[in-house]
Amino acid sequence: MRVPRLVRSLYLRWLRRRLPAAPRQVLSHRNIFILPSKSGALFLGMTAVLFLLGTNYQNNLVLALAFLLFSLFNTSILMAFRNLAGLTLASGQAHHRHAGEPIPFDLSVSSARPLFQLHLKYEDGPLRRINRVLAQETQVQLLHPSERRGVLKPGRIRIESRYPLGLCRVWSHLDLAQSALVWPAAEPGPVLSQHSEQHVGSEPARSREGLDDFQGLARWQPGQSRARIAWKQWAQSGQLQVKQFVAPQGAPTHVTLHPGSPIELALSAVAAELTRLHHQGVPFALALGAQRFAPEHGSAHLKRCLDGLARYRSSD
């Protein structure tokens, strides 16, 4: 159903005032909405027809049936409300992903009373069903599509339920003040990268802990593997020492944006290059305008750099 834009924006503004964003929220009568569903409207229509039938035949049992069904509808409204009231939602960790990938947002849901058949969904995201919510906190991941890099605010989560009979739709729109960084999409392209090959001769090669080459001995400390203890040296000196090995490490690569290409394309190319370097195990450094990321390796470093790319000259 298309809602006119004006109505929609008015509704959203009203929602902002009524249900302000907060990382942890409990559903109550303040933030739960109820309307009959299509089935519910059909149900009420049928009850009305039964009422007319009973009136016309002057048959009290048929009237009683109509009243019973109406009361059932009323009860179902109450139970539908109870099925959302008391639901506690707390925002969890946000995961950062490349643009174009769905961004997962963690939430934890819990409720003192068991709740059934909840549907959670961001406006543009896919539906996530939860069959049962219990007192124990449960982690749920909700996806939100990402289009461009930058800070993504997924906006309001729609929490909906049609329990117990599908006759009414109870829902709430909550903003859990979540946000995630969307990294530029990794698309290979022109990058300015500089290998520090010229220093190879003058500077000793960098190395990291590894298994390939023997580097030397160090004092043994409790907790270290006994397989590496240098027994020969112990027999000589009476001191426990461990053998240390290193893996040789390539020289760091310095990566910068390609000034010639459009900024978003250049960022995407850098993201692709950094990911490639990371997979090859080559340490890299990144220069983004005034910001510098010192040469380093590892996932955390890659993440830091990608975060930098995501924030680079981003409007928010």
Binding site: H29, S39, L42, F43, M46, V49, L50, L52, L53, G54, T55, N56, Y57, Q58, N59, N60, L61, V62, L63, A64, L65, A66, F67, L68, L69, F70, S71, L72, N74, T75, S76, L78, M79, F81, R82, A85, G86, F116, Q117, N131, R162, Y163, P164, L165, G166
Partner: protein, 669 residues
């Protein structure tokens, strides 16, 4: 959302339970198509078949349409509608995939439950209705809340129990309305009296124990020999059958008080006439007078209906018989039954007085060879002759026809009356139940100066039939109550079960009085008793109020609303004085504890703090020291509050009016 297996199984159960009671209304073709659909569904349930092929669905649809066409002309609207819905119910079932389809099937189910209620009215039906609604609701519930059967049953029961109070409220308070459009009378074949009578016919009715009506009286219940419920007057005789003809009667004789009020609760007969006592009248707008001193419906009701009637205790003074009526009451077929005619002519010559002639006929019936039986031998072509002079065995309609025939031939205006005689007393003796086996035929003859007088020849032959009722008189006869739904007659020897039947009648009677018969008038009487008269404003207010109270209770139970907890006295007093402090700008900061507040005031406003300190200390010991003397502390706190209040007021009055509301901060030290 797809329909789960549990929901499918539950739906199958509820469908069978809903269709079973409706099966008599459905045509064999309807049932066959439905059965096929349900079988397919069972196949899907057990994983033997998948979705039905298009060909099957289409051919079933075509078959359903043909069935509907073939029955549409033969049935009344309601019956055709029932068949249509049953067909839709079945066809929709085989293609139920998601919750939307399921909801449509279930809504149809609710409607079918309603259709079944249209022609059954017993209290058991109400129980059946609630159970069926619960069963029909379960597939919906289970598709949102998959649970084990026991837990599920509990949840459904909870849903129903929460719904019943509002149902009751609506039942009592929603104003009853008159029918919105006129309904055609469905011509349903039912056992009952008809407007033509062959000699052997009433015996068929004695096979049935179907209820005709229940009667209650203001005052004593009439004696058995007074319980003649007149329904039809049959005037035309063609030698084989008696028929009702248009009675040419002038206006009815006016009835005069005293009256005895009585009430009837009638099962729907779909006929215009209703059985009433003689000399009855009614103020009920649904009734109209019929010729022959009878009452009839303006529109025959389709449901159990109660009416209030009056019976004049004294017979009205008869008017002279008009010539056309006399002709009608003397009419006989041109020929046939020569022996009876001869006997009648003989009687006419023998006795001058019509009363004596009647007495002579009855005297003959009382004599030996005549006997009363529900299984009379077959009669010859001249029926009256054959009965009077040959077989001499029969039941009420034989005797009554013979009497009317002979009386007419003997020159006495006479007519055949059919209706019911007798009735069984309820166990508390407050009402009579009249069943089909109470059907009876008797005669009325016109006697100069007395008007129409009831003559029951059966009473002459088998007085116990009239005095003890059909039960006692006929129970030994073969065929009596043979078509009864329960073999009650076998229970006769067990007084318990017989009593049980009586109590069931009692429950049914109260049910129809208070539930089925809860109509505009009864509702109005309820209003009169409780609210002193009905008006729309009051009704609206009461209904609104009642619903509000119910909603409040429901809101409390669902946690939507919480009753405010009253704080202890000390807290209330403390809060009050804090408000006073706030008014002069010396209130606590958000989240500031009492002692912190006090300490801050001691720095900023030592004068004020000196008076606030005792309040604060008393308050804290009242709240947190379980050993303190509560009473004394409370009194001390109240005294301290008074002092502070006086101090603030004094302070306040010395400040110029313009500065009021904000206490001037003391100069910084």
């Amino acid at each position: 959302m797809l329909v789960s297996r549990a929901a499918q199984g539950c739906l199958l159960l509820s469908q069978i339970a809903i269709i079973l009671p409706l099966s008599p209304t459905a045509t064999p073709w309807t049932l066959a198509i439905l059965l096929l659909c349900l079988l397919w569904r069972v196949g899907i349930f057990y994983g033997r078949v998948t979705r039905p092929p298009k060909l099957l669905v289409n051919s079933l649809g075509i078959a359903a349409t043909l069935t509907l066409f073939s029955i549409a002309t033969q049935m009344d609207m309601m019956q055709a509608l029932t068949n249509l819905l049953i067909l839709a119910y079945g066809l929709k079932t085989i293609e139920t995939r998601n919750t939307g389809d399921l909801t449509v099937v279930i809504l149809t189910g609710y409607f079918l439950i309603g259709l079944h209620l249209l022609d059954s009215f017993t209290p058991l039906m109400a129980v059946q209705m609630v159970l069926l609604v619960a069963l029909n609701t379960t597939p919906l519930l289970i598709s949102y809340r998959p649970e084990a059967p026991k837990a599920l049953a509990l949840e459904t029961a909870k849903l129903m129990v929460f719904s019943l109070p509002l149902t009751l409220l609506l039942f009592l308070l929603v104003p009853r309305m008159a029918p919105i459009w006129q309904l055609q009378n469905p011509q349903i074949a039912r056992t009952g009296l008809s407007d033509s009578l062959a000699l052997g016919q009433i015996a068929q009715l004695t096979r049935s124990d179907e209820l005709v009506m229940r009667a209650s009286f203001d005052g004593a219940i009439p004696a058995p020999e007074q319980r003649y419920w007149r329904a039809l007057i049959l005037n035309d005789f063609d030698g084989q059958r008696w028929r009702a003809s248009r009675l040419a009667e002038a206006e009815p004789e006016p009835l005069s008080p005293p009256y005895r009020p009585y009430q009837l609760i009638l099962e729907p007969s779909h006929q215009r006439w209703l059985p009433t006592l003689k000399h009855s009248d009614s103020q009920d707008p649904a009734l109209q007078p019929l010729p022959g001193g009878r009452l009839g419906w303006r529109t025959p009701p389709a449901t159990r209906t109660s009416v209030a009637l009056l019976q004049a205790q004294a017979a009205p003074t008869p008017r002279p018989l008009s010539e056309t009526v006399r002709q009608q009451a003397l009419q006989l077929p041109a020929q046939g039954d020569p022996a009876s005619r001869r006997w009648a002519t003989q009687l006419r010559q023998q006795y001058d007085d019509p009363t004596a002639r009647i007495a002579a006929i009855l005297q003959r019936f009382r004599q030996a060879p005549f006997r009363y039986t529900l299984q009379p031998p077959k009669l010859g072509p001249d029926q009256i002759d054959s009965f009077l002079f040959d077989t001499q065995a029969g039941f009420c309609s034989h005797y009554a026809s013979a009497l009317v025939f002979v009386a007419r031939q003997a020159g006495i205006p006479a007519r055949l009356v059919t209706g019911y005689q007798g009735g069984e007393l309820g166990p508390r003796g407050d009402f009579l139940s009249i069943y089909q086996y109470n059907a009876h035929a008797w005669s009325e003859v016109w006697l100069e100066g007395q008007g129409w007088v009831r003559i029951d020849p059966t009473a002459a032959v088998a007085p116990e039939r009239v005095e003890q009722g059909a039960q006692a008189a006929l129970a030994q006869q073969e065929g009596f109550m043979a078509d009864a739904r329960l073999p009650w007659l076998q229970f006769r020897n067990s007084p318990w079960l017989w009593q049980l039947r009586g109590w069931m009648a009692q429950v049914d009677y109260q049910w129809s009085r208070w539930v089925m018969g809860f109509d505009e008038q009864r509702q109005a009487r309820l209003w009169d008793r409780w609210m002193g008269g009905f008006d729309l404003l009051k009704a609206g207010a009461l209904l609104g109020g009642a619903i509000f109270v119910l909603a409040l209770l429901q809101a409390l139970s669902s946690g939507l609303l919480k009753l405010p907890k009253t704080a202890p006295l000390a807290v209330r007093r403390y809060r009050k004085i804090l408000r006073k402090l706030e008014a002069i700008g010396a209130g606590p900061k958000p989240g500031e504890a009492p002692l912190g507040h006090l300490r801050r005031l001691q720095v900023t406003q030592p004068q004020l703090a000196a008076r606030f300190a005792p309040i604060c200390h008393h308050f804290l010991s009242l709240r947190y020291d379980p050993q303190c003397d509560k009473r004394q502390q409370m009194l001390a706190m109240q005294r301290a509050i008074k002092r502070l209040r006086r101090y603030i007021n004094r302070l306040h009055s010395t400040i110029p009016a313009s500065a009021r509301g904000s206490f001037p901060a003391p100069p910084a030290p």
